[in-house]
């Protein structure tokens, strides 16, 4: 097992390097160099840089040097936790991103748990009660979850909440907590607001998960060993829960690797609609204003999150299914 985990972690290294290259490409993508943009912006605000400052900045960002040198310069900063400076905000990127990224992680993880908690029982129910009314209802909800884009669900939630109940469902905190630091009250308040993003984000994933669980479990239930178990007189409960369900649960773990990128991406869009204080709105703004160090760092962070999610899912799969470990 130890060997397996080490191997998986080593596999991560090339992926991580590729991820940093992609992020750097994102930083370099906009036409023109950012220093010119920066100087122009400063000039608009009535500030001027003298030659010495300009030279210092040029050296700092490695302008005029080949692209791989600039990449290595940026990387050496990243490794030390220095992600560059946001042109728009005039602050180090790390400072801006920190808390928002944390909230994104919290929401993504909570949504994963929500998806598991909802999809598992429903999937098992749908498979064991195939073609029942419940099965049809859940299948219908599943199709809706697959077909309706997340931001539409968010908009519909907002609209229904406002027009029927007169409440504002956007945001993650009540007004009195927005500006405050973290406290017990703020956490409780956040939990109270979190159900809307959870449902909106989780619906698509839940739908997919229900379908896979149902299909997998149905396949398992048709296998001869289940018939054997029945013919030997095992109770129905034991027949279903002892082996088929366990085998049908694999997608819950392996799906994590694909679930996380979807959640991170999905939360980017719905947090704009629901105005959540997560990374989404800031990322969008950074792209709109071509604040590329901020944007590139976001891409890097999102990708690293995903890579870590894949690692966790691989390790969990190894724990669950010994065959994978010895592949």
């Amino acid at each position: 097992m130890f060997q397996y985990v080490v191997r998986r972690i080593l596999y991560m290294v090339p992926t991580l390097i590729a991820v940093t290259i992609i992020s750097f490409v994102v930083i370099e993508l906009p036409p023109g160099d950012y220093l010119t943009n920066y100087v122009n912006r400063l000039m608009l605000q009535g500030e001027f840089l003298d030659e010495a400052q300009l030279e210092a900045l040029k050296v700092q960002y490695g302008l005029g040097q080949p692209i791989y040198i600039r990449y290595l310069k940026w990387m050496s900063g990243v490794v030390r936790g220095n992600f560059g400076v946001s042109m728009e905000w005039g602050k180090p990127v790390g400072e801006l991103i920190g808390q928002r990224l944390l909230l994104t992680v919290v929401i993504s993880l909570a949504t994963t748990l929500f998806i598991w908690a909802v999809a598992m029982p429903i999937g098992i129910y749908s498979a064991t009660h195939q073609y029942s009314i419940g099965d049809y209802i859940f299948s219908f909800i599943g199709f809706v979850g697959v077909g309706v884009p997340e931001f539409m669900i968010a908009l519909i939630f907002l609209w229904v909440g406002f027009s029927r109940f007169g409440v504002n469902l956007s945001g993650l905190f009540s007004e009195q907590y927005v500006e405050q630091g973290w406290s017990f009250g703020k956490v409780v308040d956040m939990l109270k607001h979190m159900w809307v993003p959870l449902i909106v984000l989780g619906l698509g994933g839940t739908a997919g998960m229900i379908r896979t669980t149902r299909a997998n479990l149905l396949d398992e239930l048709r296998k001869p060993y289940v018939t054997t178990a029945r013919s030997k007189g095992l109770t129905e409960r034991k027949v279903i829960w002892k082996y088929p369900v366990r085998l049908a649960l694999n997608p819950f773990v392996s799906g994590l690797a694909y679930l996380l990128p979807g959640l991170v991406g999905g939360s980017t869009i719905i947090s704009v609609v629901l105005s959540l204080p997560t990374s989404g709105p800031l990322y969008l703004k950074s792209l709109q204003t071509q604040d590329m160090y901020l944007a590139g760092t976001f891409v890097l962070m999102f990708s690293v999150l995903t890579v870590i999610g894949t690692l966790i899912s691989d390790i969990l799969l190894g724990v669950l299914d010994p065959r994978i470990r010895y592949e």
Partner: protein
């Protein structure tokens, strides 16, 4: 499908007469099954999938809209009206205020007042101003598919005795007083075609790279598989956003359109490549490929004459299933303001109008384009499911 079979069985047992007839039908069917081509078998199989058939018809209708938006639109989509901003949709009625029912649809013109407290414009139906809707009326000029000049439109308001006719807004108007229904019709063309063109691109990437990977194996396979794994591991939406934000703002709309399409397909060819690779790996070992090789067929002939036809159906099915993702991608990007930009009209651009709580609360009809998105995506999903089942007519 199994349901239907069981039903048939029970009926056969109940009545001996039907039984004999059934046998005859079965026999003739069996004969035709033996001589049927693979595509015929697939069609028979697909026909049984009711939902997929319905979805197919809905999609055909939607693509008709995409072909002839000018005919269906009531007004020019760019025409803005200062006096008619944020007008709610006109209700098309058959029963008038006195409870009389007529077959001819009509609308009540709106009376415009200003709310004394909020100073917002309020539109109330004027029960005295009744106007019938006419079909095949004359309106603004356009060219059918850019070729034939015409000014015929499906729906319009018929003038009353005095010759005046108000404008009808079937889906209301936006902030600039542009008719949402007409804009919807035009947006359909962009949004639906982006799915098709995007899929064509990813088909190109997917089949080439997946084919290389599966047919040659070895180092090519290893490299391509790593690349695929990597692309799948990067969260797609943020990367889409970054790439499309990098498209220069000075680009003309058409180039932006293709840029967005390439970006969307750049991240979605991986699924197809995996399927193609899998099929190639499986087929490589088949006897009929070995036979072709022994008969002296060249590599290209083996690939295109023998291998590709045997998994075309899978490819069609999986392409169909990947179109909705493209459409959703475009809609989401444009919704965020990173994709297509006005004056180009797409569903995402239209939905941008209903982006925040304020818009949702005051002008909920701006969310109507979303219904088109939902219907399209669901229809493609059902159609794709049906095609996937039909793709392998020999299963079961």
């Amino acid at each position: 499908m199994t349901d239907e079979m069981e039903e048939k069985d029970t009926r056969v047992i109940e009545s001996p007469v039907v039984d004999a007839q059934q046998e005859l039908v079965d026999a003739s069917q069996e004969d035709s099954v033996f001589v049927a081509t693979q595509w015929q078998l697939m069609w028979w199989r697909f026909r049984k999938h009711k939902l997929a058939m319905i979805a197919g018809v809905i999609l055909l209708l939607l693509y008709c809209i995409a072909l002839f938006p000018e005919f269906l639109a009531t007004y020019s989509p760019h025409e803005s009206r200062k006096l008619f901003s944020q007008v709610p949709p006109h209700k098309v009625r058959f029963v008038d205020s006195e409870g009389k029912f007529g077959l001819r649809p009509f609308i009540y013109a709106y009376e415009r007042t200003r709310d004394p407290d909020t100073l917002r414009l309020v539109y109330t139906p004027d029960l005295d101003a009744k106007y019938y809707l006419g079909f095949f009326v004359r309106g603004f000029d356009y060219k059918v598919l850019g070729l034939v000049a015409s000014n015929l439109h499906l729906v319009g308001v018929k003038p009353d005795e005095t010759g005046t006719a108000p404008e009808v807004f079937l889906m209301g108007t936006d902030n600039l007083g542009r008719d949402l229904f007409s804009r919807m019709m035009y947006g359909t063309r962009i949004s639906l075609s982006i799915g098709l063109i995007g899929v064509a691109f990813s088909f190109l990437f997917g089949i080439t790279l997946g084919g290389l990977s599966g047919y040659y194996g070895g180092v090519a396979d290893l490299v391509i598989q790593r690349v695929i794994e990597f692309i799948r591991a990067v969260p797609g939406i943020p990367l889409w956003m970054a790439l499309s934000a990098a498209l220069p703002a000075t680009w003309p709309p058409l180039r932006v359109y293709f840029g967005i399409t390439v970006i969307l397909s750049f991240l979605s060819w991986t699924g197809l490549a995996r399927i193609v690779r899998g099929r190639f790996l499986a087929l490589r070992e088949e006897d009929f490929i070995m036979a072709a090789r022994l008969a002296g067929s060249g590599e290209m002939r083996i690939i295109f004459r023998h291998m590709v036809p045997s998994f075309t159906s899978y490819i069609i099915a999986s392409l169909t299933l990947s179109i909705p993702g493209m459409i959703l991608g475009e809609t989401s990007l444009s919704f965020l303001g990173l994709g297509l930009r006005p004056p180009v009209i797409s569903w995402g651009v239209l939905l941008q109008g209903g982006q925040n709580l304020q818009a949702v609360a005051q002008t909920p009809w701006l969310m109507l384009p979303g219904i088109f998105v939902i219907v399209t995506v669901l229809a493609y999903n059902f159609l794709g499911d049906g095609l996937r089942d039909a793709a392998d007519p020999y299963s079961r």
